[in-house]
Amino acid sequence: MSRGFRLASEFVAAIIVGAGLGLLVDYFLPTRPWGLIALVLLGFAAGVLNVIRATAEMNAESAVPKDTPALPDDEDE
């Protein structure tokens, strides 16, 4: 559950930031509504990027370390 929550929050946060930046751009420049539209889409892309990075991190954590032997050696004991 915590993994799912982490991915969801990473994704949503990027879209929130994108929308916020879009509203800010439209507030100061006469580009309404195109700034919001473009930056929400970019926020979506950033969210996907966040999720990919978070998943890669999780995979790296759970992967088998490289220096573990392929088979346990009984003879060392």
Binding site: S2, R6, V12, A13, A14, I16, V17, L42, A45, N50
Partner: protein, 259 residues
């Protein structure tokens, strides 16, 4: 049915114990900054006090062969020490006090929240946002102090064709700005949702018990509440751990910008 309706949100209400006065403003209600000692402040104080007293008391003996209390303190220290070293690198050890303080505060605040009738400090967004902003500002300020303008390389990944570089840079900036939001939202959301669900199941038990013959069915939500209590202890520890790990990951970016 019971006269008092069951309110799952009621447990998060802030009560004022005593006022410290209003600063600024023109005297009309709602203007200026009103400072007060609330139940949230009380539990923050209790959390910090409990951590400080425990760590001082348990390490006071400085035994070479530690007792149980000293062993727990040393294990907590070693745990965060290893985390900072492996995740953020050796250079990040100067931020060990920050990471350790954040971890201990969140852990103990979450565990305090598991006592009945206790207030959960981390179930308020303002508290988690403040902690996430401390980390975010540390990363930005230290990153610029140490690397100068090279810190901006964080936003320009290498090996990207020049014609899509502006687009990628904007996406990277949004991704970087979204960090404090996801950082704080995750802790807040987990604790808030857990406590509400516990309360709802507890309320179901009461409602079913007061409904006559249907009282026998109260066993089901009661079992869920017991199971969720165990899960909440797991979440309390896990979220403190996740917050600390992500702090280390972000500090790593401040020290080694560029992927």
């Amino acid at each position: 049915m019971s006269e008092k309706p069951i309110e799952p949100i009621h447990q998060f209400q802030i009560h004022e114990y005593f006022s410290l006065g209003t600063f600024g403003g023109d005297g009309t209600p709602g203007s200026g900054i009103h400072l007060a000692f609330t139940n949230s402040a009380l539990f923050m104080l209790l959390t910090v006090g409990a951590i400080g007293l425990y760590l001082i008391w348990s390490t006071n003996a400085r035994a070479i062969i530690p007792g149980k209390a000293q062993l727990l303190s040393e294990m907590l220290y070693e745990f965060i020490h290893g985390m900072v070293k492996t995740t953020a690198g050796h250079e990040a050890m100067k931020f060990f006090p920050l990471v350790f303080s954040l971890f201990m505060f969140i852990l103990v605040a979450n565990m305090f929240g598991m006592f009945p009738y206790f207030f959960t400090v981390t179930s308020h967004l303002i508290v988690t946002v403040a902690m996430a902003l401390i980390v975010f500002l540390t990363v930005v300020i230290y990153g610029f102090m140490k690397n100068g303008p090279k810190f901006l390389k964080l936003f320009v990944p290498s090996g990207v064709p020049i014609y899509i570089l502006p687009l990628v840079t904007i996406i990277e900036v949004i991704s970087f700005l979204s960090r404090p939001i996801s950082h704080s939202l995750r802790l807040f959301g987990n604790i808030l949702a857990g406590h509400i669900v516990l309360k709802v199941f507890g309320g179901m038990v009461v409602a079913l018990l007061s409904a006559g013959a249907w009282g026998i069915a109260a066993v089901l939500p009661f079992g869920m509440a017991v199971a969720l209590t165990g899960l909440e202890f797991l979440v309390a520890g896990l979220q403190a751990f996740v917050f600390a790990v992500l702090t280390c990951v972000y500090l790593h970016d401040a020290i080694h910008p560029g992927h």
